[in-house]
């Protein structure tokens, strides 16, 4: 099946069609223009940061505002580590939850669980942050200490890479789970019935008939989660420990691109400082773009023929 739509016949419909298309194109163009405007604003403002530090701005590790050094590599790494770590934790759990809701649980159980999970998406970032500091960190500290002592790392104090990953995972689960549930539900029932008819077990139906069909949509949800993980600001700022340095291990404090912007923008006094923060905003944009681009390639490869 190739995804072309037959041209509509000429007649009264075609003028309305043209008008409808014009509206849709105009709406989509707003996205185009807005995103271009973002990029230009960020690039223009941040350009001087690249001008001063050159490639050192992205590859250097000396971020020392008091002495005029602005090199952002630790934060780029921090964003990368926290986002990947969060995905590793969140994806299997979110997938399990969405399968539970869509395939296993009876309606009376599935619906409340689904609402509850969606509710997680509505909790303000700052509340996650507070919960992270006052509940999650004390609760996981014994584990962190045990891990550090068995691996010979220095004693952790709580806030750090690991805490940020955990909290981010909790925060992105609802995005991935909600979208996965929807696409799993949209898998046509004849897919399942055909598999059952062949004597497949429940798991085999899911494994061979449902998941391949829903794979691309699930990945779409994963990308939304990843987007949030990369851009998430306040909650991460509160649990990552914000050290301007490359993390020594999984438990050490570090910072991400968005956390450094959020925690310093209000007090950044020199123009160099401000432009460096905006420059980080631009790098963040580029990183997000690359990640999205890679994800698109993966999705395109995984999308089964036969679906649109």
């Amino acid at each position: 099946m190739k995804a072309t739509i037959p041209q509509p016949r000429r007649g009264s419909g075609s003028r309305a069609d043209a008008r409808f298309q014009a509206v849709i194109v105009a709406l989509a163009s707003i996205v185009l223009v807005t995103a271009l405007a973002y990029s230009v604003v960020l690039l223009l403002n941040g350009a001087s940061a690249f001008g001063r530090e050159g490639l050192g701005f992205v590859f250097g590790s000396n971020w020392d505002p008091a002495n005029g050094h602005f090199q952002a590599f630790p934060f780029i790494a921090g964003t990368f580590f926290t986002a990947i770590g969060a995905l590793v934790i969140a994806v299997p759990l979110a997938l399990a939850a969405s399968l539970f809701i869509a395939e296993y649980a009876p309606d009376w159980l599935a619906n409340p669980v689904a609402y509850l999970i969606e509710l997680l998406a509505a909790i303000p970032s700052v509340v996650y942050g507070l919960w992270g500091i006052f509940v999650l960190i004390p609760a996981t500290l014994p584990f962190q200490k045990w891990l550090a002592s068995s691996l010979g790392w220095s004693a952790p104090i709580g806030p750090g890479l690991f805490s940020a990953m955990l909290l981010l995972a909790v925060m992105i689960i609802p995005f991935i789970a909600a979208i996965s549930r929807d696409v799993i539900k949209l898998v046509p029932n004849d897919q399942r019935e055909a598999a059952f008819a062949l004597g497949a077990t429940k798991w085999e139906v899911i494994r061979y008939a449902v998941l391949p069909y829903a794979r691309a949509g699930i990945l779409g949800g994963v990308i939304l989660g990843l987007g949030r993980a990369i851009g998430e600001t306040l909650a991460v700022t509160m649990v990552i420990g914000n050290a301007n340095r490359f993390p020594q291990n999984l438990l050490s404090p570090t910072a991400t691109m968005s956390s450094i912007i959020a925690s310093n923008f209000g007090e950044a006094s020199s123009p160099e400082f401000v432009s460096s923060l905006i420059g980080i905003g631009f790098v963040l944009l580029v990183v997000a773009l690359v990640v999205n681009f890679l994800a698109r390639i993966v999705i395109a490869r995984l999308t089964p023929q036969g679906t649109v």
Binding site: A66, M238, N242, E267
Partner: protein
């Protein structure tokens, strides 16, 4: 039901007021926010003038007054000459309170008011003193039994006026600090060791839940979170309690205070050594943009009130009062504000 009706009427009245009464907008430092909130609520009650103050941080306060998007800015750090030049008009600084920064700690078995010196604090944050029973700490606290426990330094992760006062002090008392970390008041530095907490409440929270930790917060946060805090030796060798507001106010009297009040008086030879002014920033010439003489007048009236009746609130909320020569100079600055060249 009756309550609801009353509430509804009040709400409607509030809407009506919001549209015609004079309003003043300010933005900036978060450290004096509780004080300003109290002052502005009282001022609103007595005069009906609405003051919308948003705590967005000192840096943003400075930026916004330069951009003229607010009627006044508020900052814990003064604008240097270079920054003042970027503003479209002359900006004056009016000191409104003095804040003290105290070292808070969580050491099992240790009493309140441990003694610290600037040098010891600097070495702790440089990572050179790493244990609570280090000889240098023990020497200051004879008779106190300190545990063999690692010190976990906690700092502010966001840029902050509190950090600026603290590191300004450290750079004055420790050549090691000045040589390797920072000189002067800096709202954020590259900390050699430790972990960052978000805002003063975050630092207080981390100190509270981490044994062996030390942090620095304004007095009001130490008291609100019931944290133990240390006394600090000033340059004359006297140990001073940052919770004693008379000592805090005294520190600003130490130097010959410049007429524009733009000065850092950390490591002062009298009073508490880790403290500083928090200022309100306004344009000296109020006739700019679409501003009317009424708006200018209402702003100046507010500033005058804050320096008079408003100061009585300072000590209730654990802020140092503007007093003595500082108060005289502040009042002089306010009376120098003009509209179209005429005094208000």
């Amino acid at each position: 039901m009756k309550k609801l009706l009353i509430a509804g009427t009040v709400a409607l009245a509030a809407i009506a007021v919001a549209q015609d009464a004079k309003t003043i907008t300010g933005a900036g430092a978060s450290f004096p926010f509780p004080l300003y909130q109290e002052m502005f609520a009282q001022y609103n009650k007595t005069t009906g003038v609405q003051i919308n103050y948003q705590s967005v941080g000192s840096g943003a306060g400075r930026t916004q007054i330069i951009a003229q998007t607010v009627d006044f800015g508020a900052s814990d750090a003064f604008m240097n000459d270079e920054l003042l030049k970027t503003a479209p008009g002359a900006i004056v600084h009016v000191p409104m309170a003095i804040g003290a920064v105290v070292p808070v700690y969580n050491v099992p078995g240790a009493p309140d008011k441990l003694k610290f010196t600037g040098d010891v604090l600097a070495q702790i944050y440089l990572g050179k003193i790493t244990k609570w029973n280090d000889a240098k700490i023990v020497k200051l606290n004879m008779g106190v039994k300190l545990p063999d426990l690692a010190i976990q330094p906690v700092y502010r992760s966001d840029g902050s006026g509190t950090t600026a006062i603290f590191v300004d002090y450290l750079s004055k008392v420790s050549s090691d600090w000045a040589g390797t970390v920072s000189k002067g008041p800096q709202s954020t530095v590259k900390w050699p060791v430790g972990v960052g907490g978000p805002q003063s409440a975050g630092v207080a929270g981390l100190v509270k839940q981490t044994t062996g930790s030390i942090g620095y917060v304004e007095t009001v946060y130490a008291k609100a979170n019931k944290l133990e805090y240390g006394v600090v030796r000033n340059s004359t060798g006297k140990y001073v309690d940052g919770g004693n507001l008379k000592e805090v106010a005294l520190a600003s009297d130490s130097k010959s205070l410049p007429n524009d009040t733009r000065v850092s008086f950390t490591n002062s030879d009298i009073g508490y050594p880790i403290s500083g002014f928090t200022w309100i920033l306004v344009y000296k010439e109020q006739k700019y943009g679409k501003r009317t003489v009424e708006q200018a007048k209402s702003l100046v009236d507010l500033l005058k009130w804050m320096l008079a009746d408003g100061q009585k609130i300072n000590e209730q909320l654990a802020y140092g009062q503007i007093d003595g020569s500082a108060l005289a100079k502040a009042k002089k600055i306010v009376s120098s504000i003009t509209y179209g060249g005429k005094a208000l």
